[in-house]
Amino acid sequence: MELNFSPVHFIAVPLFAAFLLPLLGRVSQKLVTLVPGVVLLYLSVVAITLFPQAYDTPIVEIIAGWRPPFGITLVFGPLAAFLVTMITLIGFVVWLYSYRFIIREPLEKYYMLFMLLIAGSTGIILTGDIFNLFVFLEITAIAAYSLTAFLRDHNGAEAAFKYLLIGSFASAFVLLAIVILYANVGTLNMADIALRMGDVPDKIKLTIMILFIVGLGIEAELFPLNGWAPDAYSQAPSPIGAVFAGIVVKAAVYALMRVLFTLFDLPTSSHFLVVMGTITLLVAEMSAMRQQQIKRMLAFSSIGQMGLVLVAFGLGTKEGIAAALFLMFSHAVIKTMLFFSAGYLVFFSGHKNISDLEGMGREKPWTGFFFSLGALAIIGLPPFSGFWAKFYLLVSAANASHIFLIALILFSAIIEAVYYLRVVGRLYFKKFNDIEIRKTPFTGLLAMGILAIVTLVIGVYPDFIHELVLPAANELLDKAAYLQYAMIGQ
């Protein structure tokens, strides 16, 4: 029997599962916690199966038989394959962690929203139609707003409200950009738009681009549009914080890059990206250093890393984009591990402040170990994956003769080292006073363990990922090739 896998599954299956879960909840709670795991495992299998094929010739899936440029297409090229596989694997690990972490709240709601997040994120990455992009952006956003407020404390509601307010601005601007775009090119298919962009007057093109930059930049945590991010990351439940940092923002950055690279010409915005990316990086790292709460610190650190990714994209060369993708992958893995361990540290100690976490490393040795590993990895130390990511980025920057940029990036790395290592030091500092000796769930440890192994393996043998990101980077850069296979309907 030949298994007929198709990229549609990435969207359809979690979507279907999402709406099925409340029904299953009536039957048994156990089922509710297990089904998402099965779904994500299945999606991972699909992703890995389709992987080689996507790298060979991109799979273009036509929805409902309407050929492009009228219908919606899903484009599963190397870039999409890489990102989607990353998302499904991270999603699976998050499920593993959530299995025993989320125990109090109504489970169906959590997992349903989680499935929606997965469906939305993969949808953003797979789609070849710009309005479809908007729709998936919204799906992801609504699920995200709700999940931010999931824990029933007022801080969560406050964070969710800020996220919602700014996020709505994001959707408004993106929609406005689409409206003006449609008015000028008359089509919604991204490949088709790319073909017709040449006829649009420059001023209008720039307006549309700016609207996209601001709109998608809000989701991609560009400075100064990222005010919502620290609150949302720190107030959401820890696994969701990991999903935000590891999945959602990556999809948003992808969307921004797809628009900038494919619909517009990169050279216009590359300088802007490099500069704003650096500012994002610096402000975020500096703010992170003064944080008292551990999850908020991680949030700022994430923003900083995204700034780095934007800089890498902005460099515009094949190596630069490959570095950006490598950074995204490395960051997703490590940040997830950090959020997981921070989540346990906060949960078992009952304190959110770093100063109150003293000695937790001795109480919970494995959790402390994973946090320390994550801290070392994210600073960019060998032999972890973060080192290679940063190295590729610096090499690309050097090739473009941006020595000052290199200095700034390394300066922020030093700041990062200080605040992360301070926490690591505190973990082993004194004896922990409060009595709290519940055991850490095995699934959580397993999840963190998997991530740690991945980052170590890639750190020692980066070729695995390096070989995958180069063709993906090529796809983003090579507009002509994309147009060719995305427009098979023509």
């Binding site: 409200f161 800020k162 307010l165 700014i166 601005f169 601007f173 001023k203 093109k205 720039l206 307006t207 681009m209 700016i210 609207l211 930059i213 601001v214 809000i218 100064p224 549009l225 005010g227 919502w228 620290p230 609150d231 216009t268 915005s269 300088h271 802007f272 402000v283 500096m286 703010s287 250093m289 003064r290 944080q291 070392l376 130390l381 060998p382 032999p383 080192f387 290679w388 190295f391 090499v395 920057a397 050097a398 090739n399 003769s401 020595i403 290199i406 390394l410 790395a413 030093i414 080292a417 200080v418 290592l421 301070r422 030091g425 082993y428 500092f429 043998y461 980066p462 070729d463 390096h466």
Partner: protein, 619 residues
Amino acid sequence: MDQLLNIPAILAIAFAGSILVFITHSVFPKLRTAIILIFTILPAYLVWQLPADSGLVHFTLGGFDLSWGTNAYSRLFSLLIAGIGVLATIYSISFMKKRSRLGFFYLAFLTTISAMYGIVFSQDLLSLFFFWEIMTWASFLLVIYYSFEDQKAGIRYFVFSAIGAYSLLTAIVYLYSFTGDLSLAATFKVIPELDTTQITFITILFLLGFGVKSALMPVHVWAPDAYRSAPSPFTALFSGVLSKMGVFGMGLVLFKFMGGLEQGHIIREILAWLGGITALLATFYAIFQTDAKKLLAYSSIAQLGYITIGLAVGTPMSVMAAIFLALMHGIFKSMLFMGIGSVFLQTGSLDLNELTGLIRRMPLSFVTVLMGIITVAGVPPLGGFVGKWLLYESLITSEHYFLVAVTFISSTAAFLYLYRLIFSIFLGQEEKEFDHIKEVPWPMWVPMLILASLTMLTGLMPGLFFEPIAEAMKFLGFQQVNWEMSVLFNTWGNQIDLLAMSTSIFSVFLLGLAFITWKNYKTTRYVTTKDIHTSGEIPTENENLTYAVDFYRPFERAAAPVFKYKVTHFYESFAENAEHLFDLLRHVYTGNAQTYALYVVIFLVLLIVFSGWIFGIQI
């Protein structure tokens, strides 16, 4: 081919050892010692067996071409790592016996050693940096191991190391953008072809990077606290070997990178002066210390200053002096830290104002520290003399007279702190509270005595070291350097026969000792510490009244005005101001949802209004 696989094997075994210890530590504690020993001695043995000039092991990783191999220069340092590494490990097994979290300790300890092997065997810049960073974080973990006040020391260490490491990284990627080839061989070829500003830029970055590890002033501030905080067995390794990695790098930079370049002259002069200042100031700081480990730390910084002078001056004799001093420092500093560590283990204190009169209780440690002191002071018949002699000789012949004066002053001043060290701890009256102190177990004093005998050996037959050093220097580009087993030459044709000299000194010393003892035997009496004169004040039990307390107080008071301005203050105020700035910056995130929305709209408006300037097309 068989030979070529040795190096990856060494590294694999060494790293595997550290991971293995960590994993099996909680499960099979009894196995732990065995594993540690096997995985330390085996790589050391293999290193010993390596030929001086093996070929290169090439492989590709992550799209870069990497290569590992040895040359005479690397081999020298690898032997140092192997030797001191094994001895320190054996010492640590006994020292750390009753401590907690040993898995973590040995993970970091063995990883540091493995990383150091990696550094010396790297023949390309990326591998060098890769292992350099691993070494940095592994040693960081050990600095914060005890973690009482040590956090600050650890962070400070890491920040300075990071500054150095990132300077290295900047230089590496910058070079790579020119050459497209990361191997050292290619780098050696390319550098002469760059223009002066580029070469200066790269050299300064490299020297900064390696200088931090060598605790050169003004980037030395991490060293005293870091050496103090780390557990003594590791400090032996830290000060003895890790700092030599910086020396290793500096040698590469000064001689292989910059070779015979004219442009290098000014940089070398500045470096020599920095070395001199380091030596001088560090010696004085050492005199003021009351903590034994910190005293030794400053002493290390001073010694590294001498080594830097030697490297910077650049004549064949000075470089030989520098490398010889480097090896000697590796030996005697580890020895000293081990000795002091033994005292700490038995008494629980490192405070020179507290310790006293341990000579009868810990005779072996006494001998160790005594030999160490004599070597540091540069007095014959021990090895330090040879190094100092060569250094002075080379400075005089290259007409750096002022540096001779600086070196001489600091060497002489070194007597002050060296004497204090041994007097405070071992000599002087005995205190009751130390009555129960015993000597340390054999896994600790055997390495110490081995090292002590090495210092004696090199004092009598320095030729043993001269041979590999000369080979190493050939790699660095120097001509054949003259040496002989037991004889020191100077440029005017005179020579010292060390064996004869040492024998004569030794016999004179013994005769003198015998004479004094015989003369005063009948008139000696034992005094307790309470047998003193007081002016109306009655001393209490807890005051330490031994002779050595506050030894150099008057000296300190006299020199205090000069030493008010420490570089540390500068760094600390810089860090404080930076944190204030960051605090201001983070107030951007006001927490008010509407403000954030306003940011968005303002940003949009600004982008549109200034679109011409930002994007090139004005709306």
